[in-house]
């Protein structure tokens, strides 16, 4: 109790002391008030009014600056929106004009729909062949190819390939591809096209790693196997590093197509004198083909691929019709060569490996393909048909030193399709110099031992291939 009173007293004393001290300080601070109307008083009033005015204007300035900031932001937003709208409008207009909406496809494809490309393939040939083909020891403009490619709609593409050489102009391919056919990964090809058989057969000559299609493909398929009809494609993944692709097709006029410098079809174009291996098909008699291929990543850069292909023509009729057409002109001998309802089957197995270092594009590609050709031949009308099964293969290795230079070797052996006792062998070395993506030189030297014509010879070829405009091939699978 005593303590509480003492504390109250002490607090009261402290409060009194504080009040007195504050009063004293205030009294010290205050200067004496100047008499009313004196200069000092006027000065003081002026200072007050000036301060008020300044505060007022500062307030107004702050308000105005705020307003200006708000208006500026609004203007910027409007401007950005305007610019953005203008860009969208211009893009839209460009899309309409030049097809940019399809985004990039390949070099310049993005600018035009359809896209056009031209490939020219000029070859200087020197050959020691006694019975010279028309291509020997001369310049050969093997092909000028015009490619047309475009989108019809987002799911449908159209392609056409026109081939011209010194003698003729031909529509080689013209087809559409309908994507998302039943399945997203599936597509349907319809029209005239190189059928999906093996790795090298469908490739156009100027895109080969060497100059000519291997002899075995010339002999059994006539080079590229081409047909008019339908082809269905699909694929799916095999785990994370593999895939399986397959195709099946039906055509009514599959035949071989080749523009060959060295090989069993050298100097000839299949439409001219060579018999059409698969012949013209009637509407009730089609030819069928299919392919299954799988590939896997190997290591950092490698890809291993295996595949199997088959082409089957149950009835070959064309030569009967052709022969009858010629019968009146040429006499009975042609009729004896006529063939009807004869079948032909070609089966191929391929094995490939490529490993390309992406830093400098160096690396090698290996490919081997084995083919079996089973063919019925002879004059059926006279009951003289015969059946021959022949075997052949080719293989090549191509080593790229860098983006520009590559060197390769290929070997090719096959039995004659109608007489397996006679065979063909050739081996060649080829060097490629890619001046750039669109300009390529290639030198090839090839030795041929032709047991069918019973001769052997050397041939040297210098090829200059150039490309202008659009040119794309999709994926190598």
């Amino acid at each position: 109790m005593h303590t509480k009173e003492s504390r109250t007293r002490a607090l009261a004393a402290l409060g009194l002391f504080t009040v007195l001290a504050a009063s004293a300080a205030r009294a010290q601070d205050q200067s004496p008030t100047p008499p009313k109307g004196s200069v000092e008083e006027l000065r003081r009033q002026f200072a007050h009014e000036l301060a008020d005015l300044r505060a007022d204007y500062e307030n107004r300035l702050q308000t105005m600056e705020g307003e200006i900031g708000r208006l500026r932001a609004e203007r910027d937003d409007a401007s950005a929106q305007g610019v953005s709208d203008a860009i969208d409008r211009i893009r839209s207009e460009l899309d309409d004009r030049v097809g940019l909406g399809l985004s990039q496809t390949t070099v310049f494809d993005n600018l035009f729909n359809p896209a056009f490309g031209v490939v020219s393939d000029l070859i200087l040939v020197a050959s020691g062949q006694d019975d010279s083909f028309s291509h020997a020891n001369r310049f050969v403009l093997r092909s000028v190819e015009v490619n047309i490619a475009g989108n019809i709609d987002p799911d449908t593409e159209y392609y056409a390939v026109l081939h011209a050489d010194e003698d003729e102009i031909e529509l080689e391919e013209a087809y559409l591809i309908r994507r998302d056919f039943f399945r997203e990964t599936a597509s349907l090809k319809a029209g005239r096209f190189n059928v999906d058989f093996g790795r090298v057969s469908p490739v156009h000559e100027h895109d080969l790693p060497f100059i000519d299609k291997p002899g075995v493909l010339q002999e059994y398929l006539g080079g590229s196997l081409r047909g008019t009809g339908l082809e269905y494609h699909d694929w799916f993944s095999l785990g994370d590093s593999g895939l399986l692709r397959f195709s099946a097709g039906i055509t009514n006029s599959p035949d071989g197509d080749a523009h060959v410098i060295v090989g069993p079809l050298a100097g000839e174009h299949h439409h001219e004198e060579e018999e059409e291996l698969f012949g013209e098909r009637g509407i009730d008699s089609f030819a069928f083909h299919g392919r299954v291929t799988a590939q896997w990543d190997v290591g950092l850069n490698g890809v291993f691929q295996i595949g199997a292909s088959v082409a089957w023509a149950p009835e070959v009729r064309s030569h009967l019709e052709d022969a009858h057409d010629h019968e009146e002109e040429k006499g009975a001998e042609d009729a004896e060569e006529a063939q009807s309802d004869l079948q032909k089957l070609v089966v191929g197995f391929d094995l490939g490996y490529r490993s390309i270092d992406p830093t400098d594009a160096s690396g090698f590609t290996f490919l081997a393909e084995f083919l079996i050709n089973a063919e019925e031949f002879g004059a059926e009308e006279e009951g003289k048909t015969d059946f021959e099964t022949a075997f052949g293969f080719y293989a090549y290795v191509d080593y790229a030193f860098n983006r520009e230079w590559a060197l390769g070797v290929s070997v090719d052996w096959f039995e004659h399709r109608l007489d397996a006792d006679r065979d063909w062998f050739d081996v060649g070395v080829f060097g490629t110099w890619k001046l750039n993506e669109f300009n390529r030189l290639r030198l090839e030297v090839r030795y041929v031992d032709d047991g069918i014509a019973d001769e052997s010879y050397w041939a040297a070829m210098l090829q200059w291939t150039v490309l202008i405009g659009s040119h794309g091939h999709g994926i190598d699978w």
Binding site: G101, L102, S103, Q104, T105, T106, V107, F108, D109, N110, L111, P154, E157, R179, D180, E184, T185, S187, W235, S237, L238, G239, D240, S241, G242, L243, Q295, W296, D297, L300, V303, R354, I356, P358, T359, D360, A361, N402, R403, E404, L435, N436, E437, F438, N439, I468, G472, H473, G474, I475, D476, W477
Partner: protein, 309 residues
């Protein structure tokens, strides 16, 4: 009997509903055409994305070969991100055409063209092949070497991911902002490191460094390729020696594939040579865009060396 069944069925359905509601949203599977983009998508997408670069960063983007694993990855992807400006013209169209993933079609939300909003620099004035074999009518595609433009691309990627995952807007914006903070800090370092080099001249091997040079105030005095995409010729390289002398070139910059040629030229020009990739690497582990750019800046700063002090 019927009444007895109602309770368990209701409970079962409720559990199913709750379980489904609690299931985490599936991660977006993203594929990018090169590692810089993959790194930026990872930074922005965070846990929402699983990212794979289709190339390792060592490739010339014009010479990419498509492997089976590439096709499989693109097939499964929800999002595809490309540099654009035709950098990937040789393989992307064929790849997308073959894979036929609807989500990745140009124009769809899953197709992100990272260069869509950047301001391209046009280094080949025409559209004719007479200007060079490797020309890009839409603009030079090596914009990834400019961190400033990569920031714009990051915004494009962020906005595209938000469109695909609107519920994750905040997380995506936050991740992007965090990445930008790192970029800002790095930019200060890089600008400081290259400040003494401003106005210095160098020779490039390929038409790739214009964005970087403009960003940091460097000058390109010449190019080893006589025209974009054409191989260096002896005559052209000789002319570069004169250029180097006239314009006081102190650095020759090449990709690894032409490192030796760059060193030879540098010796003739009495300059230094630097071998620099055009993208970060992603071979075993992702190198990361900022780490890569740090190396690039260091290579230039070191390359100019004492002359810049």
């Amino acid at each position: 009997m019927r009444n007895r069944m109602i309770a368990p069925i209701t409970l079962f359905l409720a559990l199913c509903f709750v379980s489904a509601a609690r299931l985490p949203a599936q991660k977006l599977q993203v594929v990018t055409t090169q590692p810089d983009l993959a790194d930026v998508v990872r930074a922005i997408g965070g846990d929402l994305v699983e990212v794979r670069s289709l190339t390792s960063g060592r490739e010339d983007l014009h010479l990419v070969t498509i492997r089976p694993s590439t096709l499989g990855a693109v097939r499964k992807a929800d999002v595809f991100v490309q540099l654009g400006l035709d950098a990937e013209h040789q393989w992307v169209p064929a790849m997308l055409g073959a894979v036929r993933n609807r989500k990745l079609r140009p124009g769809e939300a899953g197709f992100i063209n990272a260069s869509e909003d950047i301001d391209p620099i046009f280094t080949t004035p025409g559209r004719s092949r007479a200007e060079g074999a490797d020309i890009h009518p839409r603009g030079n595609p090596h914009w990834n070497l400019d961190p400033g433009r990569m920031r714009i691309a990051a915004h494009t990627i962020r906005d595209a991911l938000i469109k695909l995952r609107p519920a994750e807007r905040k997380a995506l914006e936050k991740n992007c902002a965090l990445w930008e903070e790192k970029l800002d800090a790095a930019m200060k370092r890089w600008e400081k490191a290259l400040a003494p080099c401003k106005g210095r001249t160098f020779i490039e091997e390929h038409d790739a460094w214009i964005y970087f040079a403009k960003r940091f105030g460097l000058e390109i005095a010449g190019r080893m390729e006589p025209k974009p995409g054409l191989n260096p010729t002896p005559k052209h390289l000789e002319s570069l020696v004169e250029t180097a002398r006239d314009r006081k070139v102190r650095l020759i910059v090449t990709r690894p594939a032409r490192g030796e040629l760059g060193r030879d030229l540098a010796a003739k020009c009495k300059a230094r040579s630097a071998v620099i990739d055009l993208s970060s690497h992603e071979i075993d582990e992702p190198e990361g865009y900022l780490v890569f750019m740090e190396k690039v800046v260091n290579a230039f700063a070191t390359g100019f060396g004492d002359d810049s002090k």
